[in-house]
Amino acid sequence: MPLARRIIPCLDVDNGRVVKGVRFIDIRDAGDPVEIARRYGEQGADEITFLDITASSDERETMAHVVEAVAAEVFIPLTVGGGIRALEDIRRILNAGADKVAINSAAVARPEFVREAAERFGNQCIVVAIDAKRVSVPGEPLKWEIFTHGGRRATGIDAIAWAIRMAEYGAGELLVTSMDRDGTREGFDLELMRAVSEAVPVPLIASGGVGNLEHLAEGITQGRADAVLAASIFHFGEHTVGEAKAHLAAEGIEIRL
């Protein structure tokens, strides 16, 4: 199939700086978002995702300025998530130069918001982000529950059922993060990714747990992801996006070189 699988570096941005946490806590500084995005663009990243983890709303403007600066010089798709709660938030971030927004907590609070956003802006720019955690015990069928507010709040909602519902409501793509694996470097939750990918008609971005290049390949071959997202393996200079692509190509995975 000629459509390439995508590699998406993810930048967690806190008040204008790129940071990276482990299991959503213990955050360390990784640099300037514009400089990092430019570097990933030059390395051949297929898209870039920014997650705004800023707590206070008056600092949200900072994210729009970051997007503006990046969009003026990096000509690949840009996705922004974090704090998207209203159509006005989407409009502002798209006007700053983003191509897609990722909606998470606001979708859980009011699922109709996703439908309204897709109708207003088109489903091509609406990504629903899902943070999922295993809740089944050994011996039971696998089951995942979604969490919101940066993974702090349980919802009681089944992750697979939620993914199907969000695709029906107009999400053009799903960004699924395994909370059990995020920041652990143990690899994707492949069973979660595969279960979601096979359940929905829209593309899946797998996230959470990448510690080496083989994990990226597994996400595609075993997790059936259309795109793989990673942060720390790129931020701290262990691997370039180019090395990641060469690794996938060597395994016969269709990629953009």
């Binding site: 199939m1 000629p2 459509l3 390439a4 699988r5 995508r6 663009g41 297929d46 969009a71 003026a72 010089e73 000509f75 690949i76 798709p77 798209l94 006007n95 700053a96 130069g97 983003a98 191509d99 802006f121 088109g122 489903n123 091509q124 720019c125 053009g172 793509e173 008609p201 829209v202 593309p203 899946l204 259309d226 795109a227 953009r256």
Partner: protein, 217 residues
């Protein structure tokens, strides 16, 4: 000093389109985002971008009084349609239960289907068709200058153009079906993917458009 107008009808990633054109346009040229029919009529080149749904696109260009200005530009000056700005040039779209479009070219805009399969591998394909796919150039064109055949461009769409005349096709791409990924005739070039988001190859295409004399060869 030439003026390049990007038609703003309230939809899509216009900022991305203008950012990319500002990067590649000749020094001294002006790139303007506009919803004014007069500005479109006075421009030397016109870009008709678009994202979203066919019904909304048609409603917005009708509502902004832009239909005649778009048709006039497509009939007379270097004109670049992108994504939805390509699809609405056809006569009809299957989207939104069936929508009549501008009818510059005969043909229909078709849906990939909810869960199409790749005829070769049998693999289920996701819709939207989203990501980097290869453009196979069907024939030479000034806008392909400096772009290798089979270069990858960024696509995001659920519907594709099926022109009634094969002579319109300037490039194809493959996603379960081989579909028309670019069409060209006279001063019009239209492309399904997003050159403004397609890194070097896309910037090269926009660079070429910003210097194109509107002749097909």
């Amino acid at each position: 000093m030439a003026v390049l107008a990007i038609i703003d009808y309230g939809m899509g990633n216009l900022r991305s389109v203008s950012n990319a054109l500002l990067r590649v346009a000749p020094a001294g040229d002006r790139v303007v985002l506009t919803s004014s029919p007069e500005v479109v009529r006075a421009a030397d080149r016109v870009v008709f971008p678009g994202q979203g749904a066919a019904r909304d696109c048609m409603r917005e260009i009708v509502g902004h009084g832009l239909v005649d200005a778009v048709l006039d530009a497509a009939a007379s000056r270097p004109f670049l349609g992108i994504c939805m700005g390509m699809q609405v040039l056809l006569a009809h779209s299957e989207e939104n239960g069936g929508i009549d479009c501008l009818g510059v070219y005969p043909g229909t805009v078709r849906y990939f289907g909810r869960s199409p399969r790749d005829p070769l591998s049998g693999e289920r394909l996701k819709v939207p068709h989203m990501g980097w796919n290869q453009l196979q150039q069907s024939r030479p064109h000034p806008l392909w200058s400096g772009i290798l055949d089979l270069s990858r461009f960024y696509f995001v769409h659920s519907y594709y153009v099926a022109p009634a005349e094969t002579g319109l096709v300037a490039a194809t791409a493959s996603y379960g079906v081989d579909f028309c990924a670019a069409l060209a005739r006279d001063n019009v070039f239209a492309i399904q993917c997003h050159p403004e988001k397609s890194a070097e190859a896309g910037l090269q295409l926009l660079h070429n458009f910003a210097r194109w004399n509107g002749k097909p060869a």
